[in-house]
Amino acid sequence: MTLTSESINVGDQMPVYTSVPITRSHLVRYAGASGDFNPLHHDETFVRMIGMQSVIAHGMLIMGIAGEAIVSWTPHKYLRKFHSRFLGMTQPVDWNDAENTKKRATIVVTGKIVKKYEENGEKRIRCNIVAKDLTGSRKLDGYFIAALP
């Protein structure tokens, strides 16, 4: 279905997007793809040295997942702005305890249209978004603005 300004109203929800559980391999893949080699995201010895339990996902990986959620609904040629505020850290799955750690590593992105308006001669929407894990812990919130046909 083509997304149009006509078909969208304030209060409408963006389709819920649920990721697969994030693994350490995903973190390494993202590090290589983005160039972010902060050891916090892959080096367990560095992480323990600074008093943390586990490596954590890049905040920008979570924003990237939120971006995937958005463009699977609103093609990014329509995007005008995308803002995120990082709220919580995400630990990946521990394979030796997968059952108990899968939920903390699975990201769910939801969104709600809060504004419909005209700007720069375009029909724009503002959609507030939230990313949480399956335990309900918030990872980021923010919004995007899109110009729809």
Binding site: D36, G67, K81
Partner: protein
């Protein structure tokens, strides 16, 4: 601790080609895919991208973050601004899309420190943070500003 004398500092401009293969790699990474074959074909197939209404192979919406790590990467920025890596966290990120970025574009990054300030009170640990705001302009080979980036980093 961030060095406040760096407010207004501009990093030397840096120019780089947006490589097609990096776009597919990035799309696979944010899609948590194990292979580039599992991603949307607009990220590797020009024909598919054109059918979807793009003039070339587009980039995922957060791809511009990789421009932050150009040149000497995170450590270069950490050193230039006097950050303490052990305390450093990314607090906010914003992209303003003024145009499209495509595979093969030659992008010049102009990055600047626009603000540094303290948030909260020093005697309340956990609430206090030193904030640094960076603004980056990404300009294509035709001189068009395609994306404006605003990144907020904090040290706690």
């Amino acid at each position: 601790m961030a060095d406040k004398s760096k407010i207004g500092m501009e990093f030397p401009p840096f120019t780089m080609v947006v490589e097609k293969i990096k776009i597919a790699e990035f799309a696979a990474a944010v899609g948590l895919k194990n292979s580039s074959e599992e991603i949307d074909s607009i990220y590797y197939d020009e024909e598919a991208a054109r059918k979807a209404g793009y003039k070339g192979i587009p980039v995922p919406p957060t791809f511009m973050t990789s421009c932050f790590f150009w040149t000497d990467g995170l450590m270069g920025i950490v050193k230039a601004l006097g950050f303490d890596l052990e305390k450093l966290l990314h607090s906010e990120e914003e992209y303003e899309y003024l145009g499209q970025m495509y595979a093969g574009d030659v992008i010049t990054r102009k990055m600047k420190v626009v603000d540094m300030y303290e948030r909260g009170q020093k005697d309340r640990p956990g609430r206090f943070a030193e904030v640094t705001v960076l603004e980056t302009e990404l300009i294509n080979q035709r001189g068009e500003l395609v994306t404006k980036v605003r990144s907020t980093m904090i040290e706690r």
